[in-house]
Symmetry: C2
Subunit: 342 residues, 2 copies
Amino acid sequence: MPNASSTPDAAPASPRAATLHDVARSAGVSLITASRALGNPDLVSEKTIAKVRQAVEATGYIPNLLAGGLKSRRSMTVAALVPAISVAQFLPTVQTLTETLAAAGYQLILGQSGYDHAREEALVNTLASRRPDGIVFAGLVHSPKAREQLRRLGTPVVEIWDLSERPVDMMVGFSHLKVGAAVAGYFLAKGWQQVGIATGDDQRASVRREGFLSVIGREVPTVVVPAPSSLALGRRALGELLQKSPGVRAIYCSSDQLAQGVLTEAAVRGLRVPQDLAVCGFGDADFAAHMAPSLTTVQVDGPAIGRQAAELLLARCRGETPAQPVIDVGFCIVERESTGGA
Amino acid sequence: MPNASSTPDAAPASPRAATLHDVARSAGVSLITASRALGNPDLVSEKTIAKVRQAVEATGYIPNLLAGGLKSRRSMTVAALVPAISVAQFLPTVQTLTETLAAAGYQLILGQSGYDHAREEALVNTLASRRPDGIVFAGLVHSPKAREQLRRLGTPVVEIWDLSERPVDMMVGFSHLKVGAAVAGYFLAKGWQQVGIATGDDQRASVRREGFLSVIGREVPTVVVPAPSSLALGRRALGELLQKSPGVRAIYCSSDQLAQGVLTEAAVRGLRVPQDLAVCGFGDADFAAHMAPSLTTVQVDGPAIGRQAAELLLARCRGETPAQPVIDVGFCIVERESTGGA
DNA sequence: CTGTTAGCGCATTCAC
DNA sequence: GTGAATGCGCTAACAG
């Protein structure tokens, strides 16, 4: 053991972090020249830049973006609000969002909104106090007061993973109503009349259910489970659905996690998929294509949503006005073994 | 359609956001009194507070934490670095971390480190430029230069999900070496000699493998798959493992996702679990307990890691010196059906 | 190409 | 209890 665990090796510890002032002095130039050498190199001679670079090394200078942002009014941050970080659904989107923004020098501030509309207002305030250059909202902003606040801020806002007639500002998503309708149409085309639904109790899942019902044309046996949905809840849901409707032939699940649970429970009960029971999920999670049987599901391009949301924001930050402030990324049904596909 | 999609309803749009100055004027008090009424109400009379509160409402004032932090040297942010947001492993930890910090008024800034040690340095710089009040690092900081930089910053740092003899500052984690050893011991106790490993190619998984080997006392057939691991990779891994070692009796997987794939592939091949093949995962993901057969796995208390990391940081921010800067949260093997458990 | 001057919005000294 | 001055670290205007 080369070192006691509580005593880190030599740590000179900064009495005070170096400022741009220190760099300028060390380089023998003025403060603003140092600033430009780092931020606007085009305006400074090669030689000066080299001197400043050296001074940065020597002093161990790390810029203070808080101070810079105060004057320039650009914090170089974007705030993102998701219902909960552990909702797997949004992960690829958040990942791509983070990467695309990072490539442009922007950092993500993460907030959890819960599924509680009442908290939206407080959250908007909390985030706004960081003066982000953009705000990404997973889902629609429902609270009228929050919507009003967001507009007053003048900060670019992108609502994602949904569409509506009244965006706060910009939008990248798809129609959940159409998703439900499409799945119902797909079931009917297969000739399955005895259909059922296993759904999480969140807003968007409910809209998908509505779309489903609108095509079926009547109520259908439904089991609602609390968010976040999971394999365990899917197993329970199938059990309850079979009680309500023993002859159910095809089930639409509001997430692939639920669908995975339904398939698991079906296997345990000796139901053959798709001969006895067909199942369709939502989200095309990474496991969907590789389960046995593989899972038919609604595929949404999560990374594309993240990338396009980032690009809309970045365009706005550059002062541009995007031609298309509302983008429908669409969706498609990927047919696999759980509904008799390849 | 009550409103064209590109024309949001009435938006007065702020010419400039209200500042504390505006609030003070509107309330008929001085700037500093307004500041205190909001931040240190104890120092101000009830009546004044009421006036200021009203002025805040009237002006729509939202504090600018960037400006406040510049002077007070507290940004009220914590930076968190994870290899990738989509690594399910860290999600419960990040979630709890976010919540615990939010409850104390701190916001999380999220960064992705990738699995690339070379990038650590650049990342530390990027983060440090936001002047966070604390930094959470998923995994150990390996690059010596990054370690040195972190120390110089003087910012509290917590390395999580691992333990070592030489923390940069504080630590909350467990021994991956011991995890591997424990699983190997468990397999041997069951009498399984023909063992194999399916592992992701990340640092911590490799250490667990080392621990496993140290107890087994010899090399064992191993399949390494690229991170991030998934069900699909688990299926492939079992195929390859069966080629290398047709008689393999028990497999240790570096994640539950991989294990799920191994179980799927085993079912497809008609292998009975646990009679023909036993499987142990790592992480106790939410699905592990509910699969059929249920998955034996190594359970780690992810939320506890997040909570304790947050508390260490918050204590430091209050100026306290935690008695225990290195916390071992331990782990345990949860025996389920995939190894013959209940 | 470089420098001087003035703040960004707030909180920390001090005074009263 | 309240207030006036001062500056956190940096950058946007203008000048030279």
